[in-house]
Amino acid sequence: MGVDIRGLRIAIGGQEIVHGVDLTVGDGERVGLIGSSGSGKSMIARAMLGLLPPDVAVSGSISLGGTEVVGASDRTLAGLRGRYTGMVFQNPGASLNPVLSVGKQIELPLRLHYDLARAERVDRVRAMLDKVGLPPDVEGKHPHELSGGQLQRVGIATALITSPRLIVADEPTTALDSITQRQIVDLLVSLVDGAGASMLFITHDFSVLARATTRCVVLDEGSVVETGETAALLAGPQDERTERLVRAARALTLHTAWPDATRDASAAASAQVSARECDEAEVRA
Amino acid sequence: MNDANGYAAVVLRSMWRRASGRFPLMVIGLWVLVSVVSLFWTPRPLMQTDGYHTWQAPSAEHWLGTDGTGADVFSWLMAGSRTNLIIVILTVLVAAALGLLFVAAMVSRHTVLAGASVVVVDALISIPTVLIALVLAVPLGASVAVIVIACGFGYGLNLARVARPQALLVARSAYVESAMADGASGAYVLFRHIVPNILPVMLVQLSLSAGTAVLAESGLTYLGVGVPSGTPSWGHSLATTVRFISVYPLTVLWPGLVVTVVVVALNLFGDALRDAIDPVTNPALRQGTGVSGKEDGHGR
């Protein structure tokens, strides 16, 4: 399902955070949205699905496969969410309902949108668990009994259980260690491609971006500064701000890879290390 | 001292600037003013009763009418405000002192003392203050002391429970550890480091307790263990007239209204205070000067 965003503005308490953003995702395309924290990228993701709190002012146009989202009622949007769209959150530990078992959590979109027999729902949940690489006994467990990587697999399973046409992934790997990050990205990409769905992938991590997306949009302080093929953009950023972001994102990637080294004087120097070297370092760590 | 005054001025000014803070400040100011004035002047002498003019409607002579003994309702409410003010001040002081004592015990370095006091506070907190008041009333009879001790004790426990997490954070912080290593006494640490840090929490909790104390006064006085008969207080005015609400609703309206307005004001005061002393919601505190007492706490 394609996305067409035109002139999107988002303001909180009279202060504009997103200033007229244009963004498109083609059918079956994987697009990245990258920017430093506070650039408004998560806001855009939430605005697309109508998840922003009611006191946030959204204007412009967001079209999801022809349905206008801005100004639509919560009821209409709830009919889209979980059926035609799925969302993967940054921190599954703080978003998966702690009182629901994994099975109940994954089948929630099915229950809300489809009138299926219980046995059929269970079958689908089990098939989905297998697809995301979780053992069957996870079904009856609660979120607090799982690891971070397992939790994110549950999040992905929940987002994909209804075979939605659009996946919005909001920094799905940020809370994970580097090896798990790669597995999760690969899983997400294979599932999305397998289903022929579109994906908007939000991140500040360039090494992940290259794996997850073919095209990307760079956001800085609420405005789009550059759009292009991911590979080309990484190799030679045209905009000065993009270049700064690429550098900053690399430094940030290193920081997450070596959390203990953040206060180290060498942090500035390690920002110069190339993306490839940093990948290798992560694997060793 | 100057800095503390400056801090208080900044906080009060930011409370005054908002309507939700101005109203309670005005009510409390009026309360204090009326209490002081009532010491020297009331429209009618308190003890002047008049068997021929009971349950009078409001008039030029009796602004809020008269009660069942023919006494002037307005004068009694005026005089009652000073009794209630004294009760609230004493209760808050007792609660603050006991609360600090409990906090000191709960964050103390003696693990046995700390553990035991946490359990004791948890157990005692579930005993309603009214039961303590009733027990105290057996030897003491109806008196202001019963209200002050029972409420002060109960609110002190609440205060200790609310303030404990913050106090524990300070008591286990690196700078307190090093101060202790340098030979600082427990009392020094308590008043130099812990109190400045839990002061905001304490003030908010105490202003809420002040509201509860006003309510408790009316309840306990009605139950016959609070303010003794013949001493003016809002609870006394309410208790002596409330039975007649269906016959003389207007007379009963006033004391109930006074209590409700004052308790609302004290609650709003607590909320406004919370906003005014929180650097997140009050930009005036963020500009950084004058808050010397708090700098200790922000070290880590």
Partner: protein, 325 residues
């Protein structure tokens, strides 16, 4: 299971502690109990006789153990004033007070929880301010006054609507359940309104923590509307916290309950306690205080167990340290 056992043990220990506290408070306080009970102007012989009658001349530990032993047998002693067994007296009074408390709490929940949810979901500054004011004013009304206003509105004979009894309790007690329930309706409503206001405040703040949380976003992303998500997910997640709060509210309730009992002339523990304190009937006071305190401890126990059962994170964790701490 270990948690349940530990919690039960704590309950028993607390019960013991309460019995010591009640006993000690009435003994340590200034004034000779026998002299107090005999009255101000009674001759010394009478005081001595009373002291012997009550067994007050024996050592304190013996007195305490004696009292405990009697308590275990369900014997609260004999009232000095009426000469009747306190056990039957306390039992009859508890049959009024405990239903009143529970009914009041149910009404409080029916008022407080929906209003709290509405307040948490409220959009716009104005409606939020109104909800806040409603809860503050509701919590600031003296129980005495609020109860009287209700009598004025609904009380039979005096009230505007004149439908419900506003004084006393049927002598046949729960033998006539309809009449008994009717006479508890207005008192319970009074208690419910007062407690409901604070419950509303707690509900709003407990829910408020979750309204902007990832849990709500997750539920919405699965296809719930915001309102559905707050009511299904938010309320469920806030429930353990709210159950704890209800437990604390209970202790706050008792002042209001006592005032209301007096106001509505209900022969409950509150009225009894006040009368007995006034009459210096210490044996009765001792028994009634213990009974009330034990009831509150029991509520605390139920609340903690419910809290535990509602939160799978606590239920599943191997040891329950964090709960009792």
């Amino acid at each position: 299971m270990r948690f349940v056992l530990r919690r039960l043990l704590l309950f028993v220990v607390a019960l013991l502690a309460i019995s010591v506290a009640v006993f000690a408070m009435l003994r340590i306080l200034p004034g000779d109990v026998a002299a107090v009970m005999a009255g101000v102007n009674s001759p010394p012989e009478r005081v001595a006789q009373l002291r012997a009658e009550l067994g007050l001349d024996r050592p304190l530990p013996v007195q305490y153990l004696d009292w405990c032993g009697a308590l275990v047998r369900g014997d609260f002693g004999t009232s000095m004033l009426t000469g009747r067994s306190i056990t039957t007296q306390v039992g009859a009074r508890a049959a009024v007070t405990f239903p009143l408390i529970i009914l009041g709490l149910v009404i409080a929940m029916l008022i407080g929880i929906p209003l709290g949810c509405a307040a948490a979901l409220a959009r716009g500054r104005r409606s939020r301010a109104i909800y806040r004011l409603v809860s503050i004013i509701g919590g600031a009304i003296p129980a005495l006054w609020g109860g009287m206003l209700l009598i004025l509105l609904f009380g039979r004979g005096v009230g505007l609507l004149g439908v419900l009894p506003s004084q006393g309790f049927p002598t046949s007690g729960w033998g006539t359940p309809g009449a008994a329930l009717a006479s508890l309706a207005l008192p319970a409503l009074s208690v419910g309104v007062i407690v409901g206001a604070s419950l509303m405040r707690y509900t709003r703040s407990a829910l408020g923590e979750f309204v902007a949380s990832g849990y709500i976003e997750m539920a919405m992303s699965c296809g719930m509307t915001r309102t559905q998500a707050v009511l299904h997910v938010g309320l469920r997640l806030a429930m353990p916290q709210m159950v704890s709060v209800v437990g604390l509210t209970f202790a706050e309730m008792i002042t209001g309950v006592m005032v209301i009992e007096n106001l509505f002339a209900l022969p409950g523990l509150g009225t009894g306690l006040v009368t007995d304190v006034g009459n210096r009937d210490l044996i009765a006071v001792q028994g009634e205080l213990f009974m009330l305190a034990a009831f509150f401890l029991l509520i605390g126990l139920v609340v903690d167990l419910a809290h535990r059962a509602l939160d799978p994170r606590l239920k599943a964790s191997a040891d329950g340290n964090e709960v009792s701490a």
